[in-house]
Symmetry: C2
Subunit: 228 residues, 2 copies
């Protein structure tokens, strides 16, 4: 499903402010798995998600999504891949603050050409399921941190993407809400076979996944496959 082979990401390569964000990364996420990615602050977790999602180019190494080398794709092909097969929950949500919660969530469907009424119906259902039924018309600055996060989660799920990349998707939620979101993730993982790679700082959330990949100072230190 997702394979990273010998991946490196270096910012400002060769300059005085060069930073090796990740190096020698070899990682696999199998189709239909729900995997946690954990590690200290600054260890490279968001970088790995950004590399997989094609939001930043790798300095070295190969990234394959469903066997397709993302380096070999044109800009348009990568954009289509992201639009149709990947759902992304950003660490700070990246909602559009001039759109309501509902409008933020329907956007990926409108981009796919789904009619407005159908997109709205799906968005409202998801938002209600996440406890935001009374916040559908609110703008991001009229929402609490955890409410914004749930809007971002809804937006990532609405196109039922094959792969969901979540960067601390429960970071702003209390424990009860976090568990509700995790059981929602587990349900779509079981019922629709969606693959999830979730960055988290919480061992409890990690324990709810099939395995935990651990990263430290830019490289993988545990794959969680050793126990099998």
């Amino acid at each position: 499903m997702l394979t990273l082979t010998n991946v490196h990401k270096i910012y400002n390569e060769g300059k005085s402010n060069e930073v090796v964000a990740v190096h020698d990364v070899n990682m696999v996420v199998y189709k239909g798995e729900m995997v946690a990615l954990m590690g200290p602050s600054g260890s490279g977790k968001s970088t790995i998600l950004n590399l997989i999602g094609g939001l930043t180019p790798a300095t070295k190494g190969t990234i394959k999504i469903d066997g397709v080398d993302t380096n070999g794709l044109s800009n348009e092909e990568m954009t289509n891949l992201r639009r149709d097969r990947i759902g992304y929950i950003f660490q700070h949500f990246n909602l559009l603050d001039f759109l309501t919660a509902e409008q933020n969530v329907v956007l990926p469907l409108l981009i796919q050409g789904i009619p407005n009424y159908e997109a709205k119906r799906k968005a409202d259902m998801l938002l209600r399921e996440l406890g935001l039924g009374s916040r559908i018309e609110h703008y991001p600055n009229e929402l609490s941190g955890g409410q914004e996060q749930r809007v971002a989660i809804a937006r990532s799920l609405i196109t039922t993407p094959a792969i969901i990349l979540g960067d601390e998707p429960t970071g702003d939620l209390d424990q009860a809400s976090a568990y509700e979101v995790m059981s929602m993730f587990r349900r779509i993982n079981r019922e629709q076979g969606q693959t999830l790679l979730l960055v988290t700082h919480s061992e409890e959330i990690g324990a709810l996944c099939d395995r935990i990949i651990r990263i430290d100072e830019g490289t993988i230190v545990e794959t969680g496959l050793e126990e099998n």
Copy 2:
């Protein structure tokens, strides 16, 4: 130190989209305490911090900081109180993205009229203590989420304010880094008598505080004083 008496905050009062964010809030934080504020997503925690910090006006009720009713202050007096006596760590940091980590942290000192070299010295010391020695010249978009959070923490501490209001100050940190930040908070609390009110979703972080105030659906359900 901090008293809230019969505080209410209603958004869009009287309109169809009226939201009661908090109501009937009675709360005290004593001088020199380190108190946690916990509750479900959307229950009113950020609202309470915003009310105390004067970032939003209360619809009803009284807020006193060191015996001074903040409602009776002029805009200028409130601004001075915020500048000199309150440190604020926002839920999403609110760093200025056109300033480096160091520049973001020196800003409150420059506003107080401290000379640049002295402010820089203090900022670098704090950033190093928080593990960001190698990130001093980085801009916010060149930092990881947890690194940004630590810059926000440094910025809130640099003026050694009497009161620190932290909105999930360890939310983007791994457990080890979170504990380091909490022991830093505990140290300044013990050594300098600073008062801290910290919103958190983590019971472990709450347990490191003197007591936990719990909020649910906009009103206080536990003060943590009952056990004494």
